[in-house]
């Protein structure tokens, strides 16, 4: 059966991918960003997941306002890197896990999450800007993805509570996949930023740090908030934090935050947080059977 090793919350500003493409790791302006992703990269290299399931938002690139999907699941085998006005980044096309994605479409729709699906559409920086920081191609991507787009551009956008529930439904979908796959859930976006009006350039480090605390310790508090709260505290584009809620909703309550980094150089607070499920680490031999009993007990009461 497929299992979930953990989760990653990360900002997805285009400049993160730009810093990678321009080899800025030793530039003092960018080094703190690169350093912050090192533990995530090392964790993935060690755990070797087969698939990353991405909650992300499109930026009027793949989709346009003539039909903007609230939730859309990618079920294709390959996604081109989208041209956002400058040509494509020089990284390979993203590889989709068709088997898991089709299973997730069945599972979500039968779980009354009537998600739309897309095949071979190009995908923008919402997925691949942070991806190169922790899962770089060498020369090809280390594994496959399943992308789930969430509308955060055109209001009404889905509520924080709905995104949390989507995460929970995605968890059920992934865990019911019969193949032995190792899966990591990623939520991209945020943290505080606003890209419109005279309030553009708004940031709120105090709120960002509180968000990073609550997402690990008490995510229900974040789920209960309204979009107006997110916008007041984190700017209009702070609404992207609902992708983190979907990611957190797809993890078990026992997932622990084992790393985080925060860097606010320009207009967007760039954060990354790594969550690990307790089962992810192979237990020493004699501890294993005891832990298994406990785990089964927890599952039965869930």
């Amino acid at each position: 059966m497929a299992k979930i090793l953990g989760g990653i919350g990360t900002s997805h500003v285009p400049t993160i991918g730009g810093a990678y493409d321009r080899n800025k790791q030793n530039d003092p302006d960018w080094a703190p960003l690169f350093r912050g992703y090192e533990p995530v990269k090392a964790w993935l290299a060690q755990r070797k997941p087969d698939v990353l399931v991405f909650f992300y938002n499109d930026h009027a690139t793949t989709f346009f306002f003539d039909h903007y999907p609230t939730f859309a699941l990618g079920v294709g085998a390959e996604y081109a890197i989208a041209d956002e006005g400058l040509g494509r980044r020089a990284v390979p096309p993203l590889k989709g896990h068709v088997g898991l994605a089709r299973h997730m479409a069945d599972a979500l729709v039968n779980d009354e999450f009537d998600i739309s699906v897309f095949q071979d559409l190009p995908i923008d920086h919402g997925v691949h800007s942070p991806l190169t920081m922790f899962w770089p191609p060498s020369p090809d991507w280390p594994g496959k993805i399943v992308p789930i787009e969430i509308n955060v551009l055109q209001h009404p956008i889905p509520t924080p509570a709905r995104c949390w529930k989507l995460g929970q439904a995605v968890r059920r979908a992934v865990l019911s996949y019969p193949e032995d796959l190792k899966v990591v859930i990623v939520g991209t976006g945020g943290l505080s930023h606003q890209m419109n009006g005279e309030r553009a350039g708004f940031n709120n480090e105090k709120w960002d740090r509180k968000f990073l605390d609550l997402i690990a310790r008490d995510p229900r508090k974040l789920v209960a908030m309204r979009h107006a709260d997110y916008i007041r505290l984190g700017g209009t584009e702070g609404a992207e934090e609902i992708m983190w809620l979907a990611m957190r909703g797809a993890l078990s309550p026992r997932a622990r935050k084992i790393h985080q980094n925060y860097y606010l150089p320009m207009t967007t607070a760039m954060a990354v947080a790594l969550f690990e499920e307790p089962d992810a680490k192979p237990a020493p031999r004699k501890a294993r059977s005891a832990r298994k009993t406990r785990r089964n007990g927890a599952r039965a009461s869930a």
Binding site: G85, L153, N196, A200, G201, R232, T267
Partner: protein
């Protein structure tokens, strides 16, 4: 009104992109979104008026795009994420666009940032 957004109207300098804005500026945003296609960028660079004609832009829409009047484009209903494509085509960075929204020069805006070189 969307109950999720109640209270946002009290924030100054904030333009929510909702269905009314989307409908009002659909033609302009469609034009800007078109910059994801290389042929549209080529036409715009070579002959902007021909690109405006093809998209059926109004005189005011043409003026704002021609002059890169970021603040006016935003007030008109352009989505930032469509404007971002125009920025890329014209070689204008996001910090410069944000400065435009704030009515500041790029230099003034960069003074308010933690790491002005991180662009």
């Amino acid at each position: 009104m969307n109950p999720q957004l109640k209270g946002v109207e009290q924030l100054g300098g904030t333009y929510l992109f909702d269905l009314a804005t989307s409908a009002r500026a659909l033609r302009l945003n469609r034009f800007l979104h078109g910059f994801t296609v290389p042929a549209n960028r080529a036409l715009f660079k070579e002959d902007p008026e021909a690109a405006f004609d093809k998209a059926g832009l109004s005189a005011e829409e043409r003026r704002m795009v021609r002059e890169l009047d970021w603040a006016a484009l935003m007030r008109y209903g352009a989505s930032f994420f469509c404007l971002e494509k125009l920025g890329r085509v014209k070689g204008v960075s996001n910090p410069e666009m944000v400065a435009g929204f704030r009515g500041e020069s790029l230099e003034e805006f960069l003074k308010t940032r933690n790491v002005p070189g991180a662009r």
